[in-house]
Amino acid sequence: MTDTAPPSIAARRLNGQALAPWLFLAPGVLFFLFYVVFPIFQSFNLSFYRWDGLGAAEFVGFGNYRELMTDRAFEVSMWNNLKWLVLYLLAIPAGLFIALFLNQTVAGIRIYKSLFFFPFVISQVVVGLVFTWFYDPTFGLLNTMLGWVGAGPINVLGDPTLATYGIIAAGLWPQIAYCMILYLTGLNAVDPEQVEAARLDGAKGWRMLWYVIVPQLRPATFIAFVVTIIGALRSFDLISIMTNGGPFGSTRVLSFYMFEKALSEYGFRMGYGAAIAVVLFLIMLVFIGYFLWTMWRQERGR
């Protein structure tokens, strides 16, 4: 008894140390498994069925995916997602420049910072409504302003070639504010001694920015990339508010199309919606995988 007691206490202590983190993690892990991981596999499974949400599901194999290949609305949605992805990234440099501009000590600078941050605080729905009124072809401010310079009235949200860009512009407004706040906090961490040293070496202007400041802002840039790309891929509310996917489906993106097919008033093709969701998930997975890999590499480097 006395021989065996010490190792068992040690083992118990070891067990306790190994077990405690898992116990603390358990609720989170369980919820994550049940509400995130499990539905992902459920969606994968559902995408092989034809199901209206009421009757019995019918197995169709890759039928839904084959239909996606010939579905023009799906193609339009893919292209729009790409436009969102590329143009949304403009929020990062724009946010950086506003942050540099606001990163100074003037009386009342906090008020200006708050005002610039304001669009991120208000709801996307409100942003969408404000821009819809701004673009309104008959009563909108945009056409009044264009009138001052003699340009003809345009109906941004009613023109299939312009509508998506109009919505992206509305989306950029809050996203720039978000990137700005990320960079403002990043700028606080910039080492003044390095800036001083660079200045002694004669660096200024763009060279100073590019070679000294921006490299030190890498963590902020990384986060800005992550949130902007994910934000672009899950754009939904602005489209729903501003054009409802129209005119004639020209502003749909994958997430909106999935909603339309699976959950809207005229939808309830659950399998088809799930197939769209799977495609969107795989696209996102490429980016998320890259981000996770980068983070893991950084962690290991430390």
Binding site: L54, E67, Y135, T138, L157, G246, F248, E260, E265, G267
Partner: protein, 418 residues
């Protein structure tokens, strides 16, 4: 004749309470009702219906749940399978199809066999019939047609058009005066479906329209093209307001109210907001969509809202009694009155409220719609086909040259959906 019917209505109205207590003894337990009548006026009507029915049956407990009208459209799928009430609201025609096919609605053909209902509700029987059986009862419907600015017509010396030529020449006169003929907001697509319904039913008639919405006619058929050719005449004239693809139907109202557009092809629900915005009786009037082909019988759109018994209901006996109660002549008169729903009663023995639009609509639907009564494009066609087609209509209204492409797309969808 009119005095006779109203006398009859009074007689039935008086008789009903006397008969009711005898029946009432049998009803007990709880009657749960899920309703989508969430707008203020309909909500008050529904609450009164529930409380009156409750008062008629002392042993019965009526529980009413009112759900937001838009949210209801998705929630009905959940509650019909998981937690069915005894009575639920829905819409007629193909909109019932998914629930009928899934066996979630109770067959109420027995109610329709009762003489009281069979005789008085004959006009809407078709809309509640699928696979030869009836699946619910209607409680209200409303007419569609052209609401126009009477003062603008008087100013230009125009009269209500009876045929297509007059319709177009009126429009030309309105355009020449610097206004648009029609306001419309197609952002949410369905308003364009109304134009298609009327143009198609006037060009080829009710039966062709039903065959098309049932998927029996290809979209690339020449007759469908003929309908679009008529539509195109109006589009090429510039009859519709510009940028309609950016507006909802409510956002299109100001054009009519400000006098920038002279008319609106709409359901009767558009009258209330136009009156509230200040259009008086001498400024607002109604006419039936004119004849295009004189050989085609007139047919109208009149969407019908309905009550159903879910097949999983607990208290089907009380539910049936409630359905009988809702369609009875006096209740129909009361709930469709101008101060209640402001729509048309479905019971032929009911009387219509003293309202210029409702009287015209009632006369039109009861005597001048020999071809039939359609529900509306998105209720007659299956949901998916309706969504794609209405998107095509919107595109056609903006880019009429894309017609071939649109029709080919719709035909492809038709072959897959039906």
């Amino acid at each position: 004749m009119k005095t006779f019917t109203s006398a009859l209505a009074v007689a039935v109205g008086l008789a009903a309470p006397a008969v009711a207590p005898a029946v009432a003894q049998d009803l007990s337990g709880t009657l749960t009702i899920f309703s989508d009548m969430s707008n203020p006026a309909p909500r008050a009507v529904m609450e009164k219906l529930a409380s009156d029915f409750d008062a008629l049956h002392p042993d019965l407990d009526v529980e009413l749940t009112v759900i937001d009208r838009e949210a209801y459209k998705t929630q009905i799928r959940n509650f019909l399978t998981a937690n069915p009430p005894d009575v639920a609201n829905w819409y007629a025609a193909n909109r019932m199809r998914p629930y009928v096919d899934a066996g979630l609605f109770e067959d109420v053909s027995d109610l329709w066999a009762e003489p009281e209902i069979a005789e008085n509700l004959a006009s809407t029987k078709g809309a509640l019939t699928l696979d030869g059986k009836q699946w619910g009862v209607p409680y209200t419907y409303y007419q569609w047609g052209v609401y126009y600015r009477e003062d603008v017509y008087n100013e230009l010396g125009l009269s209500e058009p009876q045929d297509w030529e007059a319709f177009k020449s009126n429009c030309q006169a309105i355009l020449d005066s610097g206004r648009k003929c029609f306001t419309i907001g197609t952002k949410f697509l369905w308003t364009a479906g109304g134009w298609f319904d009327y143009l198609n039913m006037r060009t080829h008639g009710y039966d062709f329209h039903m065959a098309l919405t049932n998927g029996e006619v290809p979209w690339t058929d020449d007759r469908v093209r003929a309908t679009f050719a008529n539509w195109r005449e109006l589009i090429d004239m510039g009859a519709f307001i510009d940028n309609h693809q950016s507006y909802s139907w409510q956002e299109a109202l100001p054009f009519m109210i400000n006098g920038d557009a002279a008319a609106y092809l709409m359901g009767n629900f558009a009258v209330a907001p136009m009156r509230e915005a200040g259009l008086g009786d001498d400024q607002l009037d109604f006419y039936q969509f004119p004849v295009i082909d004189p050989d085609v019988e007139l047919a109208e759109d009149a969407p019908t809202d309905t009550f159903h018994i879910p097949s999983g209901a607990d208290n089907k006996e009380a539910a049936r009694a409630f359905l009988r109660y809702v369609v009875s002549a006096d209740v129909q008169t009361a709930i469709n009155a101008g101060d209640a729903l402001g729509q048309l009663p479905v019971n032929a023995s009911s009387s219509v409220d003293d309202d210029e639009m409702l009287e015209q609509g009632f006369a039109m639907l009861s005597s001048n719609s020999p071809g039939g009564v359609a529900q509306f494009f998105d209720r007659d066609a299956p949901a998916e086909m309706a969504a794609m087609a209405m998107e095509g209509f919107q595109e056609f209204m903006v880019f009429p040259d894309n017609l071939d492409d649109i029709l080919a797309r719709l035909e492809q969808a038709r072959q897959r959906i039906y």
